[in-house]
Point group: C2
Chain length 436, copies 2
């Protein structure tokens, strides 16, 4: 097999090359229907690539219907080439592979210690007895104990493990919370962008508003007031608590990206400022560990905690028990704390570097907005075409963009540094410049 795969490329692009290579062979019938694909081991050896890269390519080919896995035997070419000459999704023109993604909410590939997590999950999977039964609806008791320690140490939040509810993501928690606070009727979000949150409220019949503090429920992310990382100052936090207290509004504090506040002193949580009354605290691990680990938690104030307990048995736990057990021990052993330190260091450097590369490429033609937290910045550039066309044109060249705002003659983009490798910042900016 004579093939040149660019080993300098990231493994994501390598697996796409392997995918396209075999797709071509299958569509051109050089690999006819029914033929057996080379084993992962053989293919990896022949192409001088890792087994994982080959496996990813095969999985993608299988997902697209080109090959099929047979039990204990391997992968076989399907008759897809006979059914239709073009690939299944031929109605849309095929997009070129994605080279740079400024719009990804993923995490840095270097940031996560997969080996470590694997070890903890393996150890969790050894707890056969625990895994044979359904978990506690509220979440595993030892994990809630560890979480109560964690928020006490990091966020000065004092609560009992009995007030913590675990769920598979923030939406799963809101699905439990909303019915308990239905009588509040209205909810206010800071912006329209957290659609996963506002959808749940509106599904439950709440009137959804924006930046309206005369609402029954006020949903805020104090460390993520804007997408480019502005945080809520302490004075404003006190004001909000005072106002909510007077009007008997419930505050939902989504502590999203709080761990990425780049100030020396962490900002106090609303929950701790309020002494645990009238505030629901929500925390997540998606941005700290892997977005694919679906574990979030909420801390309920006393009255809501009581109301929840009465209904607790009506809701099954949604988070994977094995992942709860693994994360519990991972936190106990101090790995979450060091992961946060590592991420904070990494993202501080990446934000600096991205800013520097933008200034080097665009000079005085651009304007950068950047807050005290997060992994994104807002970049305003002069641009003659509209946002949608720019986005489309960029994607056609392999660059994914998120448009924040358009004005006559200019466009504002949200650039996320978290998932993109730092060495791609420069070429990605240059590609962007060539499109303007």
């Amino acid at each position: 097999m004579v093939l040149s795969f660019h080993n300098s490329d990231s493994s994501e692009r390598l697996y796409l090359q392997v995918y396209h290579y075999y797709r071509e062979l299958i569509l051109s019938r050089r690999l006819p229907p029914g033929s057996r694909m080379p084993s992962l081991r053989t293919c990896a050896r022949d192409l001088h690539l890792s087994r994982t890269t080959i496996e990813n390519a095969y999985l993608q080919l299988a997902a697209d219907g080109y090959i099929i896995s047979k039990a204990q035997s391997g992968y076989y070419v399907t008759d897809i080439a006979e059914q239709k000459p073009a690939p299944q999704k031929s109605s849309r023109p095929a997009l070129p592979p994605l080279r740079y993604n400024f719009a990804s909410s993923g995490v840095d590939r270097e940031s996560f210690r997969f080996d470590l997590w694997q070890r903890y999950l393996k150890s969790a999977l050894r707890q056969n007895e625990r895994l044979l039964s359904y978990g506690e609806p509220q979440g595993e008791p030892d994990f809630r104990q560890v979480l109560s320690e964690y928020v006490r140490q990091r966020r000065n939040v004092t609560c009992s493990p009995d007030d913590i509810v675990i769920g598979a993501g923030v939406q799963s928690l809101l699905h439990i919370l909303c019915p308990l606070i239905k009588d509040k009727k209205t909810v206010s979000f800071p912006t329209a962008s957290f659609i996963q949150g506002s959808t749940v409220f509106s599904d439950y019949g709440f009137e959804v508003r924006y930046r309206n503090k005369d609402s029954g429920v006020i949903y805020v992310s104090p460390a993520h007031m804007t997408k480019w990382g502005e945080i809520m100052p302490v004075s404003r936090r006190m004001e909000l608590l005072h106002y909510a207290g007077e009007h008997q509004s419930l505050i939902i504090e989504d502590d999203f990206e709080n761990e990425f506040v780049y100030l020396q002193k962490p900002t106090p949580s609303l929950f701790s400022l309020a002494g645990g009354h009238g505030v629901v605290y929500i925390g997540s691990f998606s941005r700290l560990l892997l977005p694919s680990i679906r574990i979030s938690f909420m801390i309920l104030p006393p009255r809501l905690s009581e109301a929840y307990q009465k209904k607790a048995a009506c809701y099954n736990q949604t988070a994977s028990k094995a992942e709860q057990i693994a994360l519990c021990q991972f936190i106990r052993d101090g790995h979450l704390a060091s992961q946060i330190r590592r991420l904070k260091r990494l993202y501080t450097l990446k934000m600096k570097r991205l800013r520097a590369e933008i200034q080097a490429v665009f000079g005085s033609r651009c304007q950068i907005q950047i807050g005290e937290a997060g992994t994104s910045l807002a970049l305003t550039l002069p641009c003659s075409s509209d946002g949608a066309s720019l986005k489309k044109e960029a994607r056609a060249k392999g660059l994914r963009l998120e448009i924040l705002k358009e004005e006559a003659g200019s466009v504002t983009l949200l650039l996320s540094c978290s998932a993109m490798p730092a060495e791609d910042f420069r070429p990605a900016c240059e590609l962007l410049k060539s499109l303007l």
Copy 2:
């Protein structure tokens, strides 16, 4: 250390013995606050028990606050004995360890190949690239492809992977489905027992009724019409479809325990009988694999699928991505099919054995109801005390029971054979007899 642990006991009871042993040492200050617990390895060696048993005991001790884990160092005794002389939950009198559980919805400990699942999950965890990003809201595409194959082969259900939505349990799916069908206003359940289902509907403002086919939504589990495994005959299925079609009612077919129908011919699904119109099909893996793996799926009929697509981006996926990837390949490689065969064989034998043991112990004094599916039977016995007292008395002797019905002079129990080892059936029945 001189200790006698009964190795003939199941490991669940062993770990409780270890737990009680150390709790006693801690509360009596023979292990004073701050002292280091023996390492898992040492303890396992000294007590001639497995590491897992010791680990489970330690985890329980930690969950109850007796010991605490310190990073990289081990477990240490807390000052809980000083804070309060009695254990934390001292308000309730301590129950004796559970010896026999007829009310467990867990699975047989011998039924699941943990080693195999570990292998698949490990392989999923190697797919770093995929795990670094959020998954598709609807569920991983290759997994949906495999599921569409699976239901076609096993349930004669023909659907596109685009019509399948994955979620962490049935409730997560209903949280997405209910807002789409809000205009139906009323829902009918066969019994009041599926509280996790009816709660979601009532949270969304539906009027919940029982066995009322003049409802906007009809929720049925054709293979689980009663808790003791009666299934819906095909004639009744046809009738129901006909009636629902005429009245424009939507049927939700929860295919719970369908895999455990003990007839030679599998019963046709409502979804396939209806040709995919007017029926939402729901499937789960909790009872086939591990209850702690939170993966379910629903198949939407064309109109609902369209409505869902418009809102899909508003809902995050709740199921763990790693577990989706693992289960996808597990099914592809034929392991789910063999797991089902194994379980069916196992539960058929266990049901027979349970029935025989009951007849041997109770003779003609009892009446057994048993259906064509499932892992439970209903047992009616003469009993002078009321159900609640019987349940309490049984629990005090280490036997957990579920009461189905009480009548003057008799009580009907639901006995599940799935989690209890078959060799416990006889002593559990004898213990039950001694209580009557």
